[in-house]
Amino acid sequence: MITAEEIKETLSKALPVTLVETQDLTGGGDHWQVIIVSSTFEGKGLLEQQRIVNEALKEPLADQRIHALTMKLFSPAQWEKLGS
């Protein structure tokens, strides 16, 4: 398992993040949903965007501290459009 703080810290180190929100989906600390708003997602396809996050969280994904990860990724412009 991993904590929300650890996820946020790891992501913040790896990419320029405007917002990271995490949700522990099962309470077990290993099934997570993350919402990330980052300028690095600008103009990139879904696959490429998720590859960036997979790469950033490579270690906890590989050693199963994160068993399942759901991602909702937005560029700042997309996030703005959502009215959030």
């Binding site: 696959l47 399942a68 991602m71």
Partner: protein
Amino acid sequence: MADEVFDKIEETVKNNKIMLYMKGTPDFPQCGFSAHTVEILRSYGFPFASEDVLANPEVREGIKRYSKWPTIPQVYIDGKFVGGCDIVHELHERGELEPILKTAFGK
């Protein structure tokens, strides 16, 4: 690196218009993400092939290296890696999955 599992995967994804690597089978998925992906694919009515990676550890590891993608399920359309559950879900929501499937089936 001679990699038999890569050859096998390559052949499989090329020979099936839609190929799903999943945990369990479409009728008995063993993971919520695999189940959801099956549900989306089925909603379009196009036939798809699947392989249960839990039944084959070599494919389970091999497929991750093949696509450089760390998780299962994985969907391939026309031999091309499309993504996992999140991406398929997102494409479905955006209405972008149907045109990809129709193109693959020549419709």
